[in-house]
Symmetry: C2
Subunit: 200 residues, 2 copies
């Protein structure tokens, strides 16, 4: 399964995916990695793994639509069959989503539908929840609202800050994302409306 | 700690509280049980346990305010120090909340802030989450929005219906509610704004 990854930040989820491919537990091929940020750690990780990279920096485009059209050309050139968002901080437009026939997956650091959007871990700490977690979901036209593939709970501990909670959730993300992608790649994920069934 | 319980339904959480008092693991005394519904199972359970009951049926009052004033008189007559909602389906008004100096606790069958309000388990199944749970929280003036004391995750399994999920969550509720009440009764719960800290 020819896979593209979009990342904005330090790319630790990208690394988890690269590592899972490397040890044979993830039957996909990451054929390209893109970022809306130049010189991110994520791009360096891709370089190190020998994966071609591309930067889609907003300053290089007249508007967001032009940027997304460039991303669309890029995934088409690379004959991508699966697009993974891994800490990609831009929301893809409904126009983009509608033009893509293959699945787009995202990982989010909360138990959706709680705490969508940016700073999910900060939202969780400020709300005062005792359980948070992470969610891998199909991307739809809403904000973090797509059908859920896998979720994993993570406890919020006494004295947790945004950072300590984010670190604990991130460890779980590194396991959950490759597992969800593996299930999708193996054809074990059946999606009917909002319901996602994992076939055994 | 002189405790009142309000319940509307079958009262299984009330029973869990009664049982925990009975086996000595819960240092409170349930001095009265009320319901907005006549002839509920909850009231029968209280009767069986020898706890005085009262019905606050809406049809007996000109309006909701009159009903709540009667509930307020009832808790005052009983010198209540803690009010527990256990499947009580009416939302207490902000006026009621403001007039009560002692803590009011509620248990809700989801990981709040996800799925507040009625039919939380149905909401969870329809949304397609893979993890739900239950929450014990202080009651504030909002709907299921108060500071969280304890939460426990419960997996949503393939093929779960509203009923099967509700049953699995309910088992957890029966453990979580007595535990949260125990912590409050022992003075181990410190509340600062939205943050609830459990003292060891």
């Amino acid at each position: 399964m020819r896979t593209a990854v979009l990342a904005s930040g330090r790319g630790s989820n990208l690394q988890a995916l690269i590592d899972a491919c490397g040890n044979g537990s993830l039957p996909i091929k990451i054929v390209c990695v893109g970022s809306d940020q130049p010189e991110t750690v994520a791009l360096k990780r891709a370089d190190t793994a020998g994966i071609p990279t591309r930067v889609f920096h907003m300053s290089d485009y007249p508007d967001r639509q032009a940027q997304e059209e460039d991303i669309l050309s890029w995934v088409r050139e690379n004959r991508v069959e699966l697009l993974l968002l891994a800490g990609y901080l831009k929301v893809l437009s409904p126009q983009f989503i509608r033009q893509v026939a293959f699945p787009i997956l995202n990982i989010h650091p909360s138990l959706l539908p709680a705490f969508p959007g940016l700073h999910a871990q900060r939202q969780a700490v400020e709300y005062g929840v005792k359980v948070s977690g992470c969610t891998v979901h199909f991307v739809d036209e809403g904000l973090d609202s797509g059908p859920i593939i896998l979720q994993q709970a993570v406890p919020v501990l006494a004295g947790d800050t945004e950072d300590t909670l984010a670190e604990r959730i991130l460890e779980m993300e590194h396991r959950l994302y490759p597992e969800a992608v593996r299930l999708v790649a193996l054809g074990k994920v059946e999606r009917i409306g909002r319901q996602v069934r994992i076939l055994q």
